[in-house]
Amino acid sequence: MLAEDFNLPKQTHEIFSLMARGNFISSNGTKEGMNRLYDVINNPDNFDRFQAYFNVIRYNIERGNNFFYFSKLGETNSELEKKLERFERYIDIVDLLASMDNKITIGSRFRPSEIAEECNANVRLKQKLQKIPLYRSETLHNKVREICDLMSRDSFLEMEDEKTESYKVLDAYSYLLDVINSVAIYEDTGIDNDSSSGLIYN
């Protein structure tokens, strides 16, 4: 079956190349016409065609709150585990961002320097930031920058202005929040003295 048979929009390739990298397409993203791509996928006619087309290559388009992403059909457990491992560091990051005086929420615009300053002034935040395991961490500012880089790469943030180093939180950020909200913490009752606590991802 050919791509033409599905009568796909011309942006298909662009959409695929973005989402196949594990990126999200958010409605409030502006770089590379992300919002236009969102509109294209969000069009009900297109969506069904995309779904049918991508299912053939074992991808499924998942719809979030104002964002889309790919999930792989029949993913192996080891792949899932890897994903979870990658996700783990986001727990601390989201915790940090949610603990700021001016909470970072979807649509928020901020500069890494602002976060670094606030962390510098607040011991609790500083500890939270220092707890996040990243490589380049000579200064708090650099660490925040690294976080922003990471989140931009994973399409949770978007750098709006390179001059002022201003970032915007994209709709996909709610994916992180949703996943974290569905994490249940259990405590072992201590019948057997193995691990005393742990995480369950719902």
Partner: protein, 1228 residues
């Protein structure tokens, strides 16, 4: 001087740059020889400046000094251009007077004009003075380059100056300096069609006749950004977010308002508590003292009254007893028939008199028989005495018994009475005891009852309730007013909305009508244009073409009589027959007076252009109308939107205030209910304790009653028992008495009978004796009986004497005083009752006052406790919280004022509300962030919020958003954007039209060039066989898109912008068209970005291709000829092309009458060209009246081909000297 033609003959430099003086002749081919940086190019530029007079178009790079500064360093720096003419020469002085200026001098150049005797260059004033002195005409200062060029290129109208021309140019003369400049500036070695294109285009266009893509891109970006902003705004999610923000803002605002209100109350309460604490404490103490005093006063009054009551009660007791005893005695007397006794006692005197009379009568009758009488009387008397003695004895015995029994009875009675009295006393005592207790209880009961009455009539928390009721009344009044105001505002808003809508409809209709009208007119004009074009297209093959080709001046004859339709028919096969020439089918006509009806091609062209201009005018007028319409729309939106917004805002404020009022009312009603229930509870509490006490007292009273009844019963029983015993005893004694007395009486009777018998016997004896003696015994007997009867009666009366005597004594002493005593007793009872009432009143008053004081004291105490608790809570639990920090200003600045709330409640509520507020505020923030995040950071709505924005900023954002919605600014934005898309496409279409309008000129020039190439005589050398040139369509992507937009604009007019964001199904087609327009603009924007081109110039409208054959090499049709042969060949070809171009442009741009002039072609660096080629080139130029000025790095023999050769040398003082080289011109 050459052939008496006009030419730039000489250039003289005086103090120019580092040349002190140089005089260079230019009337033939000239070459400058000198190593680099010696000033060859500077000199060439100075020559170029003569032609171009544009200090900025000389190829001076930005890093170099500007022309003015580099050339004219000194006050006496001059550039002099001498121009030779047909008769004599004139020269132009160029100098700097702030800016570069020119003067024309009508004389050949002479160095003496400029130098003093000391070879010092003079100042311009001196030069002018010197020339004037010599009578040589020198023009005024020419201040502008434009005017200078007009003079040089012969278009100056001033007669004095018009003679100073090099050539007579036409309206396109600007192409000549441009061409000369372009040739000079092009230094590429390869021949690129782009360069030629540029050359041609630059020669044809001005700087402004390009489409500046940066400007277009900016317009597109602005439109695109606005469009995308609006699109984002109109998205469902955004609309939902707006609603959420609006709603949440109200909630947050309300919460904040209530928090502030509460903080203010807290502050007021705190200040009040702090201020009132001490005075409250004092007030409480004062109330306590007042209470004590009240109690003491009451006790004293009560004691007084009770003492008085006791005295009165004693009096009453005394009178009561006395009256009772009197009544008892009266009863006893009555029982003893005192009335009868009194009557009988009244007859006593009468009976005593009767007795005495009877006795004297008896004594008189018996005086004759006194002895017998005496005997018998003594016997009878004896008997009688015996009898009497006996009777007396018996009587005494009887009376003894009687008395004995009477005594016993009396004793018994006394005993009874004593017991009775004792018992009664005992009963009385017990009763008094019980009664006093009962009375006390009763009094207490009555007190309780009156207290209950007081409690029931007391309104607890009256002030608070009254305050709330007042506040409620005020609130309701305000709410009522607000409701009516809101209704008015709603009505006004609706009216404004309707007015607005009417105006919008009116404007829309006007626009639609205008658009339709304009479109109809445009269609009509286009149809006419089409018809004209059709005519022009077919004219060659039609009768018209035939006439043009074969009949001279046919317009003067055939043109006057022929039908226009016939002229453009292609099917009538016209043939020229000489016989009938000047006739109409053989008929000769005088057509002098007849008007020509046929039109020339130019006239058709003119008609077409006129119509095109009309279309443009129509479109322009439509655009203006649309702009005006949009402006009117904006004005209406501004006017009505603002008013509407204000009305809506007012209505919203009123709604909000009503909402607040409702909440406040509900709260107040709840508070009122609370206070009422509190008051009720207070009453109930007071009443319940009262009732309990009352119940107890009632119970006690009933117990007392019972006790009293029991006591009375007991005593009654005892009384009965005593009475019965007494009665029994008395009865028994009576019986015994009667029995003994009757026994004695029987005995006495018997004895008396015996005595009476004896007496009878004696009486009979006496009577018989009397009879015997003659005495009337019968009469005596009657008197005796009478005396007996009287005696008996007297005796009877005597029996009552004692009781009567007692009665009379009692009557005198007691009974007669009884009414007075009753009266007195009544008076005492009344007094007692009065005192009781007084006591009751005093007690009630006391109770009331006591309760009042207690209440006041309790209130003070409670308030004090509340204050202290509140202040403690505030200090310990509130002061350190962030809520305090948030509202500290309000709390600290509040005025001391009593509120209906206590501090503790206020603190708790503030803390509680704050967490709710934070929650709501967080959500509000989230919505605002999400909403703004949907827009670009620099969106034209200014929907932007900083990450660290304060609550105030978020609130202002929401307020602005609300105003935005109320004032319907999105409509304005849409209208603006719609106008913008119209303007953008219109501007693009106009620019494309303007630019592509010159395409014909290009075509014309290219044709001329091609022809000139053909004419070129390369035969001699056979070096270049041919140079061909042709035009092709442009493959510039941006231009293609621009063209498409222009076509789109032409096709759809201006109507499509109406459909922008129009969701109306009826105008759906317009939306589709608008969609296409937006897409096209977007494509253009992307293309501009991709292509990174600054502007679309005339040269981008077409492609130019060359085909050159040199020897055996043919390049084929190509854009760029990198290498035709050797470098020299390349330079040659390039120079040939330039010269051709220059020739063509000069020819095109100069007046046909002006032929005797020569211009220079300045090409630097021709050192690599071979001598043979150079000769060929110079000849090629010469044939076209063009003199070459070239630069050579050093002497190589090439200079021999030039008429003038100048060498450059740098001297020790760094000055450059230019001097002529002595060479022989081989060929020029």
């Amino acid at each position: 001087m050459e052939n008496n033609c006009r030419i730039l003959n000489r250039i003289v430099e005086i103090n120019i740059s580092n040349v002190k003086y140089a005089d260079i002749e230019l009337s033939g081919n000239t070459c400058f020889v000198g190593t680099n940086n010696f000033g060859k190019t500077s000199l060439q530029r100075a020559i170029l400046f003569f032609y171009s007079a544009n200090s900025r178009g000389l190829g001076i790079s930005a890093s170099q000094k500007p022309f003015e500064e580099h050339y004219f360093r000194y006050e006496n720096s001059y550039l002099i251009y001498e121009i030779s003419t047909e008769d004599k020469s004139f020269f132009v002085i160029v100098y700097r007077h702030n800016k570069i200026v020119f003067r024309f001098v009508d004389a050949p150049f002479d160095p003496d004009f400029f130098f003093t005797a000391n070879d010092e260059a003079m100042k311009i004033k001196e030069i002018v003075a010197g020339l004037e002195k010599k009578g040589i005409y020198i023009s005024n200062q020419i201040d502008t380059f434009e005017r200078y060029r007009n003079i040089i290129f012969g278009t100056e109208t001033d007669k004095q100056l018009s003679k100073f021309h090099l050539l007579k140019g036409n309206e396109k003369y600007q192409n000549i300096p441009k061409s000369i400049t372009n040739v000079f500036l092009s230094s590429k070695s390869s021949v690129d069609s782009r360069f030629i294109k540029d050359f041609i285009a630059n020669s044809l266009t001005t700087e402004n006749s390009s489409i500046k893509l940066e400007q277009v891109e900016r317009q597109l970006r602005q439109f695109n950004e606005k469009y995308s902003d609006i699109e984002t705004y109109l998205k469902k999610e955004s609309v939902q977010l707006i609603e959420l923000i609006d709603k949440k803002y109200d909630q947050v605002h309300m919460l904040k308002g209530s928090q502030i209100e509460m903080a203010d109350k807290l502050g007021s309460s705190l200040r009040f508590a702090e201020n009132q604490n001490e005075s409250m404490r004092d007030a409480s103490k004062l109330k306590e003292v007042e209470l004590e005093k009240l109690e003491a006063d009451f006790k004293q009054s009560k004691d007084n009254i009770e003492n008085k009551q006791n005295d009165i009660r004693e009096e009453i007791g005394y009178y009561d007893r006395t009256i009772r005893e009197s009544n008892k005695k009266l009863k006893e007397y009555s029982e003893k028939n005192i009335e009868e006794a009194l009557v009988k006692n009244q007859e006593r005197e009468k009976l005593t008199v009767e007795m005495n009379i009877a006795r004297r009568e008896y004594e008189s009758l018996t005086s004759n028989v006194s002895s017998i009488e005496l005997k018998y009387t003594s016997l009878i008397e004896q008997l009688r005495n015996d009898k009497s003695a006996y009777v007396n004895k018996i009587n005494s015995r009887t009376s003894e018994i009687f008395n004995h029994y009477n005594e016993l009875q009396l004793l018994q009675k006394n005993e009874f009475n004593k017991s009775d009295v004792e018992l009664k006393k005992k009963r009385e005592e017990s009763l008094i005891e019980i009664n006093s207790e009962e009375t006390a209880k009763q009094i207490e009961f009555n007190q309780m009852k009156s207290e209950e009455k007081i409690i029931r009539s007391t309104r607890f928390y009256e002030q608070e309730i009254k305050n709330i009721e007042n506040e409620l009344a005020e609130l309701r009044a305000v709410s009522y007013k607000n409701k009516s105001e809101r209704a008015i505002k709603h009505n006004m808003a609706q009216t404004i909305q309707r007015e607005w809508e009417n105006i919008e409809i009116k404007l829309k209709t006007a626009l639609t009508n205008r658009v339709n009208q304009t479109n109809i007119e445009i269609i009509k004009l286009k149809t006419e244009i089409k018809e004209i074009e059709q005519k022009l297209d077919i004219q060659n093959d039609a009768f018209y073409g035939f006439l043009e080709k074969n009949v001279k001046n046919w317009h003067q004859n055939i043109g006057k009589v022929v039908n226009e339709k016939l002229l453009f028919r292609t099917d009538i096969s016209p043939k020229l027959k000489k016989e009938t020439i000047d006739t109409l089918y053989g008929i000769s006509l005088n057509l002098e007076p007849v008007e020509i009806v046929s039109k020339s091609i130019e006239e058709y062209q003119f008609d077409k252009n006129e119509r095109l201009a009309q279309i443009r005018d129509l479109e322009e007028s439509l655009t203006q109308f649309q702009t005006a319409n949009s402006e009117e729309k904006m004005l209406a939106a501004d006017k009505y939107g603002k008013s509407l917004g204000e009305m809506k805002e007012d209505a919203k404020v009123l709604s909000y205030s009503l909402e607040l009022s409702d909440k406040r009312e509900q709260k107040l009603v709840a508070e009122l209910e609370d206070w009422n229930s509190k008051a009720g509870k207070e009453i109930e509490d007071s009443l319940s304790s009262n009732r309990q006490r009352l119940n107890i007292i009632e119970e006690e009273l009933s117990i007392f009653n019972k006790k009293k009844n029991n006591l009375i019963n007991d005593f009654n029983k005892q009384f009965d028992k005593l009475k019965n015993y007494n009665e029994d005893r008395l009865k028994d004694l009576k019986i015994k008495q009667e029995t003994e007395i009757s026994e004695i009486e029987v005995e006495k009777k018997n004895q008396v009978k015996e005595y009476e018998i004896k007496e009878g016997k004696l009486s009979k004896e006496k009577d018989s004796n009397f009879k015997k003696k003659g005495v009337d015994s019968k009469q005596i007997k009657i008197i005796e009986d009478k005396m007996k009867e009287i005696k008996s009666l007297l005796k009877d009366i005597e029996q009552y004497s004692q009781i009567i005597s007692d009665y009379l004594k009692d009557k005198r002493e007691i009974f007669d005083k009884l009414p007075d005593m009753i009266q007195k007793k009544e008076e005492f009872i009344k007094s007692n009752n009065d005192l009781s009432v007084q006591l009751e009143e005093v007690t009630a008053k006391y109770n009331l006052k006591r309760m009042e004081l207690n209440k006041q004291k309790r209130a003070f105490d409670e308030e004090l406790i509340n204050f202290n608790n509140g202040i403690n809570f505030y200090t310990n639990n509130f002061r350190e919280t962030p809520v305090y920090s948030k509202y500290s200003d309000i709390i600290e600045r509040a005025e001391a004022k009593r509120t209906n709330y206590n501090i503790l409640d206020l603190c708790t509520q503030l803390l509680k509300n704050d967490s709710h507020f934070n929650e709501e505020y967080g959500t509000f923030q989230r919505y605002v962030n999400e909403f703004t995040g949907k827009f670009r950071i620099d969106n034209h709505f200014n929907f932007i919020i900083r990450n660290d924005a304060s609550l105030g900023e978020y609130e202002r954002f929401a307020q602005n958003l609300r105003s935005f919605i109320n004032e319907n600014k999105i409509e304005l934005s849409i209208a603006e954007t719609a106008t913008q898309i119209g303007l953008v496409t219109d501007s693009i279409a106009n620019k494309v039209n303007e630019l592509s309008g010159q395409k014909d000129k290009i075509q014309h020039i290219i044709t001329l060039i091609a022809e000139d190439f053909k004419k070129a005589e390369f035969d001699e050398s056979k070096l270049i066989e041919f140079i061909k040139i042709r035009l092709e369509e442009s493959d510039n992507k941006v231009y293609k898109l621009l063209k498409r937009i222009q076509e789109f604009r032409q096709e759809n007019g201006l109507v499509y912008n109406e459909g922008l964001f129009n969701t109306d199904f009826a105008t759906g087609q317009k939306r589709e068209i608008s969609g296409k327009a937006v897409k096209l603009l977007e494509q253009l924007r992307n293309a501009i970005k991709e292509q990174e081109q600054e502007e679309i110039r005339l040269q981008d409208l077409f492609e130019l291709k060359f085909n050159i054959k040199e020897g055996m090499n043919e390049t084929g049709w190509t854009h760029k000829i990198d290498s035709i042969g050797s470098t020299g060949t390349d330079i040659l070809v390039k120079a040939i092309i330039y010269i051709t171009l220059l020739h063509v442009f000069i020819k095109e741009s100069s007046h046909r009458s002006s032929k005797d002039f020569k211009v220079h072609c300045i090409i630097d660096e021709v050192g690599q060209i071979s001598s043979h080629y150079l000769r060929e080139l110079l000849r090629f130029a010469k044939n076209r009246n063009i003199m070459m000025i070239n630069g050579l790095p050093n002497k190589s023999g090439l200079e021999s081909h030039y008429k003038y050769t100048y060498q450059f040398r740098r001297e020790e003082n760094n000055n450059v000297r230019i001097f002529p080289s002595i060479v022989t011109e081989v060929e020029a």
